[in-house]
């Protein structure tokens, strides 16, 4: 924004209308501002002009009389342009007539028909009698890829698809090639396309040359109802149009310039729309009768749930627990937490934040008073340097990843990546540090040490806050050896990256789930805050430190206080004023002490101290490591109430199951990782008797004789916004893009900072090495899957079924494992058989398995480690994502070959 201030304005005239525009404006942009239509094929507002199609030619009459391309010509002062002069129309007509000599007459069966630019322009500007001889292209349509079909006969060779794949998605998966006398678009060398399947090439194609396999022939644009809604697969929270025909979903289309993605979508958002109408969806409430769950009425299910909860509550309020999930709407989370804390009076409220970004969120909250990211995606796009730590951004938050990719284009390797895999971003030319999995804490310590030792501390910070700087320096007295050994990195590498980061002006840190979700995640995050503090990033506008949240409404969980250490508004439970405020708003007395974390709850359930639980929107049995243990705990309960879309592994343990609606069947809001509160709308038919979560919790409250009644989801949000004011405004990032305010920073440095400093820089114990377990098995994120819904999508499962073990190619060869072989993986907790594939992203000594896989055996190989009393008053629990294992070609290999 600030750079735009000095640009001079010029006066131009288009079709007789005179207007003032900033210098550098192109004809097309000025015309669009005036509401004048100029036809375009290859022009795209977010890409540099390609000037390939020439349909946009307009006549310039002053200062010279000449035809110019509107998409690429910059206006000059005093320029006069005619977009509908005779000459312009003639050129346009000739251009279209020439295209139509080759274009097939496919419109009736082409999925673009009805929203095709070639169709529209031909009707508007073409001639009925084509003077040229026709020779229609007749090349077979390429339907080999799982998601996209290429029909090169329809291609107008504008190149927009190739450009977006190369410049914005930065995958470079497609190009033109010559086949005889026709030019074909598709993967190089005539191969079948195998890319990220973000689908953006399809979105920018002005004609029907690239179409979706999943939506093939299923709709006509004019039959569709369009609902602007929010994607639910990750924390990016992209906006898109959900399109339905007669209440059934036909496809998803992006909306240019709207939401965090500005019109980009990833594969999950674009093609992951098949779980809503999956036949496995729950349609009626279920109750347990003996071993079986049987269908019943809402009345009976609600009564039974209320009776079970009341029974447990009679033994003491802390005998009830609630676990919320990051796929619930803000409204559902609010009501759910009110139900647990107010109606049931229990302190035990936790959520999927616990195995997500809880450490990142709480550190940011305590230290900087920010819930969520400090920086918006726009800050990332403009950043001079981005340090990614334990964050495979293109897989974990693909659209945030696009913002990082945009920063990469600024050249000089502005993006610094520290990861345990060779991630996509590393390959795109970022400076890299590849460390051994599970050693994030040592790596971060190394970075801070380098900043302190090499004198890279921001001069301002050193002068203003000497005490805090000294406190950090005192913690870093150790040698580089203790960092080099576990991480496998050299001092020089670490120093180089630290130096580059410290020298950048707008420097941003992004911490991924392997930092915040690991053991000592809280310390790791605090160290990153120190790093930002020392380099001055905390107070520089556009710079900062951020923790990525993975689930789409994980930040909503934090904002609404769905964790024992949090309260609505994202404030800490220990904050007495906040507690009083909540108690007053709810007209209740809040429990005295903070409740148990999820892991402690499971322990308490097993020991019979918690007898009833409510779980909604998350599947701890089916989606966490060591899920079998969790199931044991849940089975020990007297009454377990689960609300979900499917009969998940958790729901199978339940006594009462409520069928709830998906995001496409109800109204509400989600909070993305930047803190944008964005709406969802009911767009399609809901299955059977399912109800929106808000209605379910309201009904349950009534059944418990403590009515919480609302007319709509909006009313719930209005009430929630009184405690969490962040919910009041829609669509704007909620961070601190301008930097943390000085009073907040000083309050922290003088308050909690030094107390929590103790042990912050201690390194965690090494994974206990057992010589035969010589691999580090690590559960990570996959672009194609996230949250617990994606594996219910037949479309996404077809693209990637998330059940392959990835192994380093060289090591695979050494062990005699070929792609597709079945291998046995063994850890101290057992063994499992999976299909293996070599992938050069995986480092030697490492095995990668998708975290969201449905393969429970593999997940159960990874340990749950409870790091109790580790840091601060609230016992903190973590899931370890890394475990030691060994791998061998399976005995069954021969049979399957």
């Amino acid at each position: 924004m600030s750079t735009a201030t000095k640009v001079a304005t010029i006066t131009v005239t288009i079709n007789g209308q005179t207007t003032q525009v900033p210098k550098g404006t192109r004809i097309i942009q000025a015309a669009q501002q005036l509401g004048i239509e100029i036809p375009t094929f290859c022009y795209h507002p977010r890409m540099r002009p390609n000037a390939a199609c020439r349909i946009c030619t307009v006549e310039v009459v002053k200062p010279m009389n000449k035809m110019f391309m509107a998409c690429s010509t910059e206006l000059m002062d005093g320029m006069e342009v005619l977009t509908d002069s005779e000459r312009t129309l003639k050129d346009r007509q000739t251009n279209l007539d020439l295209l139509l000599t080759q274009h097939p007459l496919d419109c009736p069966v082409c999925d673009k028909g009805g929203e095709c630019k070639l169709q529209d322009y031909s009707v508007k500007y073409g001639s009925l009698e084509n003077p040229f001889a026709t020779q229609r292209k007749d090349f077979p349509e390429d339907i080999r890829s799982v998601a996209l079909d290429f029909n090169s006969n329809r291609c107008v060779l504008c190149g927009a698809c190739i450009q977006i794949c190369g410049d914005i998605q930065m995958v470079d998966a497609i190009g033109f090639s010559k086949r005889g006398f026709i030019t074909v678009v598709g993967a190089p060398m005539g191969e079948a396309l195998d890319c990220e399947f973000c689908g953006q090439c399809m979105d920018v194609c002005p004609v029907g040359a690239i179409t979706s396999r999943f939506a093939k022939y299923k709709y006509r644009p004019w039959q569709e109802t369009t609902t602007l809604t929010t994607c639910t697969y990750c924390g990016c929270g992209c906006q898109y149009d959900l399109r339905t025909v007669d209440g059934e979903i036909s496809r998803v289309t992006p909306v240019e310039g709207v939401g965090p993605g500005q019109g980009s979508l990833c594969v999950r958002g674009h093609f992951g729309y098949h779980f809503m109408d999956d036949p496995r969806r729950l349609t009626r409430p279920l109750v347990r009768r003996g071993d079986k769950l049987v269908e019943t009425t809402w009345d009976e299910a609600l009564t039974e749930a209320a009776r079970g909860l009341a029974r447990a509550k009679a033994g003491g309020a802390n005998r009830v627990a609630g676990i919320a999930g990051g796929r619930m709407t803000n409204e559902e989370i609010y009501l759910f937490s009110r139900l647990v804390r107010d109606v049931l009076g229990s302190p035990h409220l936790d959520s999927s934040l616990r195995y997500g970004a809880i450490n990142g969120v709480t550190v940011m909250q305590q230290a900087l008073g920010v819930t969520g990211m400090m920086n918006s995606f726009d800050d990332l796009r403009r950043a001079d340097s981005i340090l990614l730590v334990g964050c495979d951004i293109t897989q974990e938050a693909p659209i945030c990843g696009l913002a990082v990719k945009e920063a990469i284009k600024k050249g000089e390797k502005p993006v610094l990546v520290a990861d345990s895999m060779k991630t996509e971003i590393m390959k795109l030319g970022a400076a890299r540090l590849v460390y051994a999995p599970g050693t994030e804490v040592a790596l971060i310590k190394g970075l801070v040490k380098a900043v302190v030792d090499e004198g890279l501390i921001d001069a301002d910070v050193a002068a203003k806050y000497p005490r805090a700087v000294e406190a950090i320096r005192a913690e870093l007295s150790g040698t580089y050896k203790e960092i080099e050994t576990p991480t496998g990195l050299s001092k020089a590498d670490i120093v180089a990256v630290a130096r580059q980061f410290a020298s950048a002006r707008r420097a941003v840190i992004l911490a991924g789930p392997r930092v915040t979700g690991g053991l000592k995640g809280k310390s790791a995050m605090a160290m990153l805050v120190d790093l930002a503090f020392l380099t001055g990033a905390l107070t520089t506008p556009g710079a900062g430190v951020n923790a990525i949240t993975m689930e789409n409404n994980e930040l909503g969980l934090a904002l609404l206080g769905a964790a024992p250490e949090l309260l609505p508004g994202g404030r800490g439970w220990s904050d007495a004023t906040a507690r009083a405020q909540v108690a007053e708003a709810w007209n209740c007395t809040l429990p005295e002490h903070a409740g148990d974390t999820m892991m402690d709850m499971f322990e308490a359930m097993r020991e019979g101290q918690i007898n009833a639980a409510l779980i909604s929107g998350t599947d701890p049995v089916g989606r966490t490591p060591a899920g079998a243990k969790v199931a044991e705990s849940l089975r020990a309960l007297d009454c377990l109430v689960v609300a979900d879309l499917f009969l998940t592994e958790t729901a199978k343990c339940a006594d009462v199951v409520f069928p709830v609606r998906s995001y496409a069947e109800m109204d509400g809001t989600f909070t993305n990782m930047e803190g944008r509160v964005q709406e969802i709308h009911s767009a399609m038919k809901a299955p059977g008797k399912s109800r929106p979560g808000v209605e379910v919790w309201s009904n349950l409250a009534r059944a418990l004789d403590h009515p919480l009644e609302y007319a709509s989801a909006a009313e719930v949000r209005a009430e929630a916004a009184r405690l969490a004011p962040q919910l009041a405004t829609l669509g704007v990032p909620n961070g601190a893009s301008a930097g943390v305010s000085v009073p907040t920073l000083e309050a922290w440095l003088q308050g909690g900072y030094l107390q929590t400093m103790n042990h912050r820089y201690d390194l965690p114990a090494k994974l206990n090495e057992a010589s035969e377990h010589n691999f580090r098995l690590y559960l990570g994120e996959l672009l194609y899957h996230s949250g617990s819904m994606s594996t219910y999508n037949w479309g996404l499962m077809k693209i990637n079924a998330a059940n392959e073990l990835l192994i380093n190619p060289r090591e695979g060869r050494k062990l005699g494992i070929r792609d597709g072989d079945r291998v046995t993986v063994t850890s101290q907790l057992g063994s499992a058989v999976v299909v293996a594939r070599a992938d050069s992203q995986v480092m030697p000594g490492t095995l990668f398995f998708p975290r969201h896989s449905v393969n429970a055996e593999m997940r159960n190989l990874v340990q749950v480690v409870v790091g109790s009393q580790e840091e601060g008053a609230v016992p903190l629990s973590c899931l370890e994502r890394v475990t030691l294992a060994r791998v061998a070609a399976s005995a069954e290999a021969g049979a399957s070959a």
Partner: protein, 204 residues
């Protein structure tokens, strides 16, 4: 005068004169329903869907008829033929003939001459629901009144009387995209589904 008129019943005779004059003219009424008028070609009667010679469905499910219909009485549910990639058809097709105003716009819109109107004008039924024609019924009508359909298309200048075969669709008629046999797709034997065993219903 008045008396003479009354005595000789002149008014009656004048009336009878008309009667006698008509007695020697030819009949112009028909003994409907025993006798029926011949219906001219191009008459816009009940709608029908046509097939190709080999029995495959002509309709490609493009929904253009639906878009053209002024009374919104057509519903096309299009899809890819299961097992035949890239072949488009109407999985379901509904035409609410009780709302049809017999304008024929849909037949004009159809790019493959799949729709044609028959000469059947007797549509009354005892149950209104029977007037919701589905795909089966429409193809059955097309089968039963194929000659009507052909004549309709010729009369309205949409066909040359051969009922364009798939390969020989005129220059401005739509032809199917070739199916990519090299890449695992199968060359479809037919467009659309094979003909189901038809029970041609009597039109009451």
């Amino acid at each position: 005068m008045g008396l003479i008129k009354t005595v000789f019943m002149t008014e009656l005779l004048m009336g009878l004169k008309i009667v006698f004059m008509q007695m020697f003219k030819p009949y112009c009424t028909l003994q409907y329903p025993h006798v029926k008028h011949p219906i001219p070609d191009g008459y816009r009667g009940l709608m029908s869907l046509l097939r190709y010679e080999d029995g495959s469905e002509r309709c490609v499910g493009c929904s253009l008829c639906e878009a053209a219909c002024p009374s919104n009485c057509i519903k096309v549910v299009s899809d890819e033929v299961p097992g035949q990639p890239l072949v488009r058809y109407a999985r379901e097709y509904y035409l609410d003939i009780s709302r049809c105003v017999f304008c024929g716009f849909c037949t004009e819109a159809c790019p493959v001459d799949a729709l044609a109107m028959t000469k059947v004008y007797e549509a009354s039924v005892y149950d209104r629901r029977e007037l919701m024609f589905d795909k089966r019924k429409l193809y059955a009508l097309g089968e039963q009144f194929l000659e009507d359909g052909k004549a309709y298309l010729v009369a309205h200048g949409m066909d040359d009387g051969t009922l364009y075969p798939r390969e020989g669709l005129g220059d401005n008629r739509y032809a199917f995209p070739p199916v990519d046999t090299a890449h695992g797709g199968e060359q479809p034997e037919q467009i659309g589904l094979t003909r189901e065993a038809l029970e041609v219903e009597e039109i009451r």
